[in-house]
């Protein structure tokens, strides 16, 4: 929908209101969760309706040494190759919040440490996805903060690409091992 400008005194109709509600800056698409799972699929969330998406995720680990990652998928398959992704972590527990750790992968987009379910401490990330449903590479950039099972707190920046020209329709959240709890919400960026 093109941006519509109203004149002073003009009546805002129900149709106009509904049109704006469905085309606001970020448009809600879907939410879901998985508890004590090794993989969580969100299917049918990317389409030609939007080019770019915002995803808000929180995770809590059921295992030690766990990092949260995600992959793109179609209705039938998950892309497990052709990623280039890295996240850099700053340790917030230390006085100067030094750069301390990282994750990197060619099989998934990486985030950060995945929280600690036993302590009810969650890791929260927010990231944008560009063009997942177009026949071109898909890009990701984002940030997060959360706890690792060593009880240190981190913030991180994350980014990556998936270079297949697949038109993805979904996303799979995974840990690097074991199980975790995941909650997500997905929004689309208004097109115009």
């Amino acid at each position: 929908m093109a941006i519509k400008t109203f004149a002073s005194g003009e009546i805002l109709t129900a149709s106009d209101t509904n049109t704006f509600l469905t085309n606001s800056g970020l448009v809600y698409i879907a939410q879901g969760f998985g508890i004590n799972t090794s993989a969580l699929d969100a299917n049918s969330v990317f389409s030609s309706t939007y080019d770019n998406y915002r995803v808000v995720v929180q995770t809590a680990s059921r295992s030690t040494l766990q990092y949260a990652r995600f992959q793109f998928r179609t209705a039938s398959t998950v892309a497990t190759t052709n990623y280039a992704s890295r996240s850099n972590w700053w340790n917030l527990t230390q006085a100067n919040a030094v750069f301390q750790d990282y994750d990197q992968s060619s099989t998934a987009i990486v985030g950060g440490p995945s929280g600690d379910q036993s302590l009810n401490r969650w890791s929260i990330w927010t990231f944008d996805i560009s063009n997942p449903n177009k026949a071109q590479q898909t890009g990701v950039t984002g940030t997060g903060t959360g706890v690792r099972r060593d009880d240190n707190w981190y913030s991180w920046i994350m980014g990556g690409i998936q270079t297949d020209s697949t038109q993805f329709t979904g996303i799979r959240f995974i840990p690097n091992g074991g199980n975790f709890d995941v909650y997500y919400k997905i929004y689309g960026y208004r097109q115009s």
């Binding site: 969580l40 969100a42 049918s44 990092y67 190759t81 199980n179």
Partner: protein, 44 residues
């Protein structure tokens, strides 16, 4: 052998499924570097 669990939210049908992974899904998970006990396998 018991395989890990997967949760599937299909936002077209509104259906949510929680079940043990199929062989293909388990193969995808292993191909992604997943291990039963998480390992510090990060690439340099």
């Amino acid at each position: 052998m018991t395989k890990p669990n997967i949760t599937i939210n299909d936002h077209e049908t509104g259906e949510t499924i929680e079940r043990e992974m199929t062989d293909d899904e388990y193969a995808e998970l292993i191909a992604s570097g997943w291990t039963e006990e998480p390992q510090d396998d990060r690439e340099p």
